[in-house]
């Protein structure tokens, strides 16, 4: 297990460099001069723009700029934002925690809601249950997050007044030893719900399907014959075995939500990383874009690793790292 973990962590490095290199090339070659954007209104003075180019090394040939950036990266230096003139690490420190809190809440809601609905649908067993779950999955996957968010605002905030319209709150607790402030719970509800609806239906459908797959197993018939109630058979025995594919989807969702929370953050004025990256792209703030991409890619890979480890918890027969991969390794 330890060897497997180390191998996966070391393998993270070339993946991140490759991802960041692709982004570097894309940002470098799209139209727009970062020096002029850094200069802002000082761009009216060409000498100022030239001085900025020299200061930030933007007047060097592209390969040299890339190598300089790569060298800093390998030394752990994510660079400084062209626009904010702050270390990229500080910007990540400000904006990643809100995105993380949002993603965790959304994944928890989608997993809990999806599992509950899927189990209920499997329990009910009728055609109506199947149609409901399929419809929820379709609606969740096809409805724009932006629209869902605004509708939830209109209903729960504007019409009912139960929850705030947007924001992060200003009275959340500070995590001891850090400058990170937690969001106030009432501000987290609507954005998390918005994000979770995307995948809740898919998880419900997958849960129902997985429970159906394991439903005919001999051990379940044995449990029922021994007098276990249908609920105990489903939840106590079948669900655990049906969780493997569900955990995979939840893990993939987490990475997707982290990177795709930008629309939700935009609607709810959530001070997260998604909006920061989009704005950095618009302003050609390359260090910030690179830093965010690297960070999110690292988190996605680590989540994937965590999913593999969770398999072993759910099914002790699965050994991550054994030949054939974690999903197929059985002692």
């Amino acid at each position: 297990m330890t060897t497997y973990l180390l191998r996966r962590l070391i393998g993270l490095v070339p993946v991140l460099i490759a991802a960041a290199t692709i982004v570097w090339i894309l940002i470098f070659f799209i139209p727009g001069d970062p020096a002029r954007l850094i200069a802002g209104s000082r761009a009216l003075d060409p000498e100022v723009v030239d001085a900025i180019r020299a200061e930030w090394g933007l007047d060097r040939p592209a390969p040299l700029q890339y190598l300089t950036w790569l060298g800093k990266l390998l030394r752990g230096d994510l660079g400084t934002s062209y626009i904010q003139r702050r270390p990229v690490a500080a910007i990540l420190g400000d904006h990643f925690p809100p995105t993380l809190f949002l993603a965790v809440a959304a994944v928890a809601l989608s997993a809990a809601g999806g599992l509950a609905l899927g189990t209920l649908a499997a329990f009910a067993r009728g055609r109506l249950a199947a149609i409901t779950v399929e419809a929820l999955a379709l609606i969740g996957a096809s409805t724009p997050v932006f629209w869902v968010g605004l509708m939830l605002i209109l209903l729960f905030a504007s019409r009912l007044g139960w929850l705030p319209v947007l924001g992060y709150g200003d009275d959340g607790a500070i995590i001891p030893g850090t400058r990170v402030r937690l969001p106030e719970l009432e501000y987290l509800v609507l954005p998390a719900l918005t994000l979770s609806l995307m995948s809740m239906g898919a998880i419900a459908r997958l849960t129902r399907s997985s429970l159906g797959d394991v439903g005919a197993a001999d051990y379940l018939r044995t449990a029922a014959a021994k007098g276990a109630s249908r609920a105990r058979v489903l939840v106590g025995h079948a669900l655990r075995n049906a969780l493997i594919p569900v955990v995979t989807v939840v893990g993939l969702n987490f990475a997707g939500i982290l990177g795709g929370a930008v629309a939700t953050e935009y609607v709810f004025a959530w001070p997260g990383l998604g909006k920061t990256v989009v704005r950095a792209i618009a302003l050609r703030d390359l260090p910030v874009v690179e830093g965010c991409v690297l960070f999110l890619a690292a988190v996605a890979v680590l989540v994937s690793l965590a999913v593999d480890l969770v398999y072993a918890v759910i099914d002790p027969r699965i050994q991550p790292g054994a030949p054939g991969g974690p999903a197929t390794s059985v002692r």
Binding site: G40, S41, I91, G126, L155, V165, L166, A282
Partner: protein
């Protein structure tokens, strides 16, 4: 069989529960109403900006987002009275100007304190002005103080002396100009000339960027990136403690969300107002404040590119082809522009004929330009910065030009790509033949629009994106800058405008800007200003109908 009958039993129960839940939800929705808007309990004024301000250093600020916060934190020697657009005392209690308009002597108040408790003296004024001029600061507004005697050598770094700035005692500042600069006092009202405490702003780590210190009516409390900026009333403000206890500047990018937040009572003011035909605008009509905004909206022609190069008749044809009144009647409510200098600036000329909508005249001018019925015109592209509002306007222009035979392509790109296409380089024009633009005056003097946008030496990235060049216009602008007689200056500016507009049709003139701002009914003391919504003085506001 027993299992099947057990399985059938829960279904009616689930259905009944679902029905009850739906009924309760329906009842709740029917009975619930919107929260009544009321001011916050501790007299906090809450308004919104779209993004985090690029900077809170007054020397480096050039945008409205930064100014929205900075005008609450800082004061300079003088300030602009927002309603009348006249210069009035601020940190300076009074001043005198020599007859030759070269020497300005300011007498400071003796009750001005910084937020860190220290009393402000003349030395702070000198230190702040030197910082603004210093090349090390890299201020985009250094030009405000470049008229000072000796400023050129100071800026070039050949000397640390600045003979045009003297402080004979703690309460007196004497400024001497190298040559008369008529709008000098107006330029000193810009936030860039804020007086700063040296002990804070000498910090090499630039901690002041996250904790600014000034002498304005509000002091800085905290800034949570992408969330809000909070200010608190400064008890020792020389103009008297504001009635507002706190200011919460919320950062909300999405306009629909911001509007919902305003409707729900989370904001006391909002800069994004629904269009007039929107039903929400009807319900909010008593809360909408409309007022001119000292700026001009236009479509620029690139005079260095075909087909507009050297073809005034073609540019005039385009002007007559577009129904600009439509923008006023239907789209934005902004008055049609007849020229360049907007209302609010002394040289605005309401008698300038401009280019009224006249498709028949447009067709005749097209023929005169060598393109009868639009035939023979090369492909023309109009570039604009991506936005829904702008798209509607550009499509209207495209449709109007189509009526006279001109096929116009539209290209919408993000800001960075747009700037690259419009500005070009010093030596090479950008690829945009036409571009949508707007310019807002920093102070009510025509110099601040004519010089950057029309002066030939500013062609290209320096501001004259149209690359317009007319030696007579240059000469008139130069003459006006040196005149001390206001009437004579106005006459020069108007003549320069007349040439650029009626002879050369430098742009396709659209409209003069207008501001619309929502204020809750309990917000009192609102002083609207042509300088824009973020220049409405917050320290004069008060919130009624709330506990103190």
């Amino acid at each position: 069989m027993r299992q099947e009958s057990r399985a059938r039993r829960p279904r009616p129960a689930i259905r009944n529960v679902a029905l009850i839940l739906c009924a309760v939800a329906g009842l709740a929705v029917a009975c619930a109403g919107r929260e009544t808007s009321a001011p916050s309990a501790d007299r906090t004024f809450r308004f919104r900006i779209r993004e985090d301000p690029p900077t809170l250093d007054p020397a480096r600020a050039i945008d409205q987002l930064s100014e929205a916060v900075l005008f609450g934190l800082f004061r300079g020697l003088v300030e602009m009275e927002p309603a009348t657009m006249t210069v009035r005392p601020a940190v300076a209690a009074s001043w005198t100007v020599s007859d030759d308009r070269l020497t300005y002597t300011f007498r400071l108040r003796d009750d001005v304190f910084f937020h860190n408790g220290r009393q402000l003296t003349a030395r702070d004024v000198a230190w702040s002005y030197r910082r603004l001029l210093s090349p090390a600061t890299g201020s985009p507004r250094r030009s405000i103080l470049e008229p000072l005697a000796g400023a050129a050598a100071f800026v070039a770094g050949t000397t640390s002396e600045l003979p045009g700035l003297q402080t004979p005692d703690d309460r007196t500042v004497v400024i001497r100009l190298a040559k008369p600069f008529a709008p000098f006092l107006s330029a000193l009202t810009l936030v860039n000339t804020a007086i700063l405490p040296a002990e804070v702003y000498e910090d090499a780590g630039e901690g002041y960027l996250r904790a600014p210190v000034g002498c304005g009516p509000f002091r800085f409390v905290r800034w949570e990136q992408s969330n809000f900026i909070e200010l608190a009333a400064f008890d020792r403000f020389y103009g008297g403690r504001p009635e507002i206890d706190r200011v919460r500047v919320r950062i909300i990018e999405n306009r629909q969300s911001a509007l919902q937040e305003y409707l729900a009572g989370g904001l006391d003011s909002l800069d994004e107002v629904p269009e007039d035909e929107d039903p929400i605008a009807v319900t909010l009509k008593d809360e909408i404040h409309r007022y001119p905004f000292i700026g001009t909206q236009f479509i620029g022609f690139n005079h260095a590119l075909a087909p507009f190069k050297g073809n005034a008749a073609l540019r005039k044809a385009f002007n007559h082809a577009v129904d600009k009144e439509y923008f006023h009647r239907t789209l934005h409510g902004e008055p049609m522009a007849n020229g360049i200098i907007p209302p609010g600036a002394p040289a605005h000329d309401p008698s300038l004929p401009g280019y009224p909508y006249d498709p028949e005249k447009a067709k005749r001018l097209l023929a005169e330009a060598g393109y009868p019925g639009g035939r023979g015109l090369p492909p023309i592209t109009l570039w604009y910065n991506t936005s829904e509002d702008m798209q509607q306007s550009m499509q209207k222009i495209q449709a109007d030009l189509k009526q006279v035979g001109v096929d116009l392509r539209l290209k919408s790109v993000d800001w960075a790509a747009y700037l690259a296409a419009v500005e070009g380089t010093r030596d090479r024009p950008g690829e945009a033949q036409m571009y949508r633009f707007g310019w807002y005056l920093d102070y009510p003097d025509a110099e601040s629009i004519l010089r950057p946008l029309l002066y030939s030496s500013n062609a290209g990235p320096a501001g004259n994106y149209s690359r317009y060049a007319n030696p007579r216009v240059d000469a008139l602008i130069d003459e006006a800058m040196g005149l001390v007689d206001d009437a004579a200056r106005v006459q020069r500016y108007r003549e320069a405008q007349r040439i650029a507009v009626m002879d050369d049709a430098v742009w396709l003139f659209l409209s003069y800007a207008q501001s619309k701002t929502l204020f809750k009914p309990y917000v009192k003391g609102i002083v609207t200003t042509p300088l824009g919504e973020f220049r409405i003085p917050i320290d004069r506001l008060r919130l009624e109908k709330g506990p103190a």
